[in-house]
Amino acid sequence: MGVGIEVKNLNAWYGQTHSLVDINLNMPANHATALIGPSGCGKSTFVRCLNRMHETNPIARATGSVRMGDIDVYKDASPVEIRRRIGMVFQRPNPFPTMSIYDNVASGLKLNGFRNRRIMDEVVERSLRGSALWDEVKDDLRKKSGASLSGGQQQRLCIARALAVEPEVLLMDEPASALDPVSTSKIEDLIFNLKSQYTIVIVTHNMQQAARVAENTGFFLNGRMVEFDSTHKIFTNPSDKRTEDYITGRFG
């Protein structure tokens, strides 16, 4: 099951650049939360702070608190453990090109030293079913490489790979921006279905997509979170003029 995420006074820097300023936010468990805002507004930095990927950059640092369920992300667990519990899917699908479909999905388990073949088979099948890819690849699991799949299939393969290590949260950074409308629709259906088991945070430039998939939406601008509310409120009657100007295309 997913867990809620509570962010308090989160600040982040790249060198001297103050990229995130005093972010406070509660993302409920088993909901999809969309983050929108113009390029460079800090939304991707924000999600990278949630699973401590931000700190992989040597000039980056962050302060404040991120709680995921009962765990303080920055105090109670190692970055490796956090990244197991918080899966991430990126803009461009990045399957391991030389690995088979099966090995792509199983890679996280293998990295964690998991060796039981029968259970591994079960996890691979469950993950591929979870990402709605099973029916399309079940006959080619070991025959085809991840790179041989279409872009949309590759993205669902990456989602299966993330699901295989049984995370509680899925971060998606523009997961459909490189996909055609049919593949995009499959990813959106997937997000809808995955919500029952995971908490989802999705960064998107596509506001219609945010409106379709997320219960809550946050609008970022210049490193600050201007407004966070139900998606319905944000897209029909936002409280802040800057949010309204952005979503109606009056600036950005």
Partner: protein, 222 residues
């Protein structure tokens, strides 16, 4: 991503709706004038204006539909387009009411003019004032002005109700005046409907400006 073309299209949509508003308002004013002076030639003008209003209604709906389909508007822009679609329908019906009144006035020509115990001109003035004010609130995007239209509707309703009782009493007491009384009754009802459409327009302005749905209004919401 400043959407210049989209915002120009919204301006064009507003301008077109204002043309429609001008035509509907003119139709109702002419119908009222026709009633006041019992002039069939004015009635003809009203009836002849209806096809133009109907054509404009279709054009505005098409423009709004195109914008919804092509631009996926959000927030205040989305509310504006929805409000325009509703207001457009109400204006067309204001035009219909004007035609209904004009038809009644023509009918009344066949009967001798009599004094009736109703103040139709005053009711007409109030209904027309509601339409004017509702449209002004749309032009200015002024939700407070729109809210004031809603309170005027109560007065129109009361006047229509009073007309109903006065005229039904007259019919009972002087059955020979039934045709004139019935015509006046229908005109009063038409004017009350005009007030209702003005109320709808005002509610749509409030929705557009504040995102608040005050239809079937609980006055405290307004």
């Amino acid at each position: 991503m400043t959407r210049i073309k989209f915002h120009q299209s919204l301006d064009e949509l507003k301008e077109k709706l204002l043309v429609m508003a001008g035509m509907a308002e003119q139709a109702i004013q002419r119908a009222i004038e026709a009633y006041r002076v019992r002039d069939a030639s004015i009635c003809n003008l009203v009836v002849r204006s209806e096809p133009s209003i109907n054509r404009l209604e279709r054009e505005i709906d098409q423009m709004a539909l195109d914008l919804l389909a092509m631009e996926q508007p959000m927030a205040i822009d989305l509310r504006f387009i929805l409000a325009v679609i509703h207001i457009n329908a109400d204006l067309e019906r204001v035009g219909d009411q004007a035609v209904n009144i004009a038809v009644r006035v023509r009918e009344m020509e066949a009967f001798p003019s009599v004094d009736l115990p109703v103040d139709i001109p005053r009711l007409a003035e109030l209904a027309a004032a509601m339409v004017r004010k509702a449209l002004q609130s749309f032009i200015e995007g002024d939700a407070e002005m729109a809210a004031s239209v809603l309170t005027m509707d109560d007065q129109v309703d009361k006047m229509n109700e009073a007309a109903f009782y006065a005229l039904s009493t007259l019919i009972r007491e002087k059955p020979e005046l039934t045709p004139q009384a019935l015509n006046a009754l229908i005109v009063a009802r038409n004017l009350e409907r005009v007030g209702d459409h003005a109320t709808n327009i005002a509610e749509d302005v409030i929705f557009w400006v504040h995102g608040k749905d005050v239809r079937h209004h609980v006055r405290s919401d307004v």
